[in-house]
Symmetry: C2
Subunit: 370 residues, 2 copies
């Protein structure tokens, strides 16, 4: 792996991340393929919007179809027919969302499957082994994510375990082609973020994520903590803000110096009839669109906008037709992909400030990022 920062404008940066399955130009948004499929879309669709890396979920794949099946079929890339990069999360976030069903110890976390109630355990070691067995390009260290607001004692404990587990993850590595990223925790407390970042940076991992945000806190808190944490991370390593995927949050994240993002937002919206545009989201089922012959977004360069009208997609959702979620999922991901491509170009050209202000104005009606 190599990561090169090619240009800066303020904290925003344009980079190039070379992974085992090709180069990811950053800033980049990673579509989420929870169960080894970006819902409703094929690898070919993802290539059509020039996605270079997608995310899949350790928790879901662990339970179904399981490590043996995927390994036997040649790893996650072969299994899902995707020859570009894959990052898997560590499963920690999912387990900690299932609050009542997990038992945390220094060793790891025991939990019950949401599918059949069976008992499982994630440890730093088995989570790394799982991700390596899948053959992913980037593996995330097992972390402890606290629910906000959190008491200081809880935050301290999450930072302590996250560091201890990251060390054990690092020690458990055995596969050159899988890069291990650490995850900075610390809630909304700056001293805890500093401590978490310092302890993880000391491990000299190939990349760092900002975790524990985008979990319900205010936009002000999200942006403040993202900026604060990004500044604590090494200049020469990729920074990944987990769970962020709206137009305005991506702009803010880029402006804080973040390189990678992921979120289910664009595909979940796509399944629910919510169309992303640079000037706000549309509820495509709304009566106003039933006879609207225009594309979802006339400024969008995606194949959906080139081919289908709002009226047609609105009809598909009213008629409960699968093609509706499919088309909107692709369009929504295309909107974010185009935003990222423009950001990359602007940071090179020194026009990021303008793009940022214009895009925020279009998205929110205000040129301030919060």
């Amino acid at each position: 792996m190599s990561f090169t920062v090619l240009a800066h404008e303020g904290a925003a940066r344009r980079g190039s991340l070379a992974l085992a399955h090709g180069v990811v130009e950053t800033p980049a948004f990673m579509p989420v393929g929870t169960a080894a499929t970006v819902k409703a879309l094929t690898p070919e669709d993802l290539r059509s919007i020039d996605a270079r890396i997608i995310l899949a979920n350790t928790y879901h794949l662990w339970l179904r179809p399981g490590r043996e099946t995927i390994a036997e079929l040649g790893g996650l890339h072969a299994f899902m027919g995707w020859d570009r990069n894959v990052l898997t999360d560590s499963g920690g976030f999912q387990v900690f969302s299932l609050e009542t069903r997990r038992v945390l110890s220094d060793d790891g976390v025991r939990f019950r499957s949401h599918l059949d109630g069976s008992e499982h355990e994630f440890t730093p070691e088995n989570v790394v082994a799982f991700q390596e067995a899948l053959g992913v390009d980037v593996a995330m260290a097992l972390d402890v994510c606290v629910k906000l607001p959190a008491a200081q004692g809880e935050i301290d404990e999450s930072v302590r375990l996250t560091t201890a587990w990251a060390k054990r993850c690092a020690a458990a590595r055995s596969r050159e082609r899988t890069q291990l990223f650490g995850i900075v925790q610390g809630g909304l407390d700056e001293r805890s973020r500093e401590r978490s970042a310092a302890e993880l940076v000391a491990l000299d991992l190939p990349g760092y994520a900002i975790g524990g945000l985008s979990v319900g806190e205010s936009r002000d808190d999200l942006y403040r903590m993202t900026r604060f944490t990004a500044e604590l991370l090494p200049e020469g390593k990729p920074r990944y803000l987990m769970g962020v995927g709206t137009v305005r949050d991506l702009i803010a994240g880029i402006d804080c110096g973040v390189d990678l993002f992921d979120c289910v937002y664009p595909t979940r919206c796509g399944r629910n009839g919510r169309a992303l545009t640079r000037s706000g989201d549309l509820n495509i089922r709304a009566a106003a669109f039933a006879r609207d012959g225009r594309p979802i977004d006339a400024t969008c360069g995606c194949t959906v906008c080139a081919t289908f009208s709002r009226a047609y997609i609105s009809h598909l959702f009213r008629a409960n037709e699968m093609l509706g979620p499919r088309l909107l999922s692709l369009h929504n991901l295309a909107v974010l992909a185009q935003l990222m491509a423009e950001a990359r170009k602007a940071i090179y050209a020194g026009t990021w400030g303008e793009l940022r202000d214009e895009a925020l104005l279009a998205a929110t009606g205000s040129a301030s990022s919060s």
Copy 2:
């Protein structure tokens, strides 16, 4: 429109049907796009399997989104982004499936919407006007389809009304580019089929369908009545067997001299996890496929079989992922498209008899068509 029979082998024929949106090489299977969408698939997907004509349902489009919306958006082709041919059924079949909710008279048929209970009426005239307003390439005449087994009186009445309505449909035509096909009824009674065919052939319509079959009768009855009816139809006009779409039934239909087919079977199966192959259908959810790295059908030339394993598609269905129905729908249509392409080639080459026997043996374990 022009229809040319290019070659014969026995009753089987290889033809070329020139319609307003391009040439359809026959025999051809028409994918069903009930609500102006072949479920889960894009026009691009349909082009990838070289579909030249698809079917849409008057009944469904009448109720939603309705004639005005489609006309305002430039007609059905523009509405759904499909630039090849479209055939619409007349709505008769759907209305007669909703048995308890319709009132039949000489004038037409009154029925209630399955969506909101609102009352509507189909007449020969308004059904032609509707299909012409949609700008379709082939419109079907309004017919009366009886449920089998049927009393002779019921069959007589259905033939009488079907003829009377076909005359009124023919008189109501106003659009050169929309071809009106008549539908032969007559249940399983040969004399009634003769009468229906003779009365419709006298109207000199551009094409004829064999209706009232594939509604639950035995395979013997289906094949016997198809062969009997096909022989009653003019040699120089296209023959369309409605509602047929399994591998063995298509082979039998081609062997009877049928040129066009449609059925929801391949796409419905695709949504339900049933994969069509030339050697029988597979339930892709079966445990046996969970780690099966082979494609659905190694002899299939479709993109799904080139890219994905049985294990992956099995996983998609277990995980309730939309991509599963999408991939299997495309594969299933591809299987039928490839069968039709091979049949066309074989009839030219004089090897249809061999292909038929081999394909039937593979599909059924027996080389007889029933």
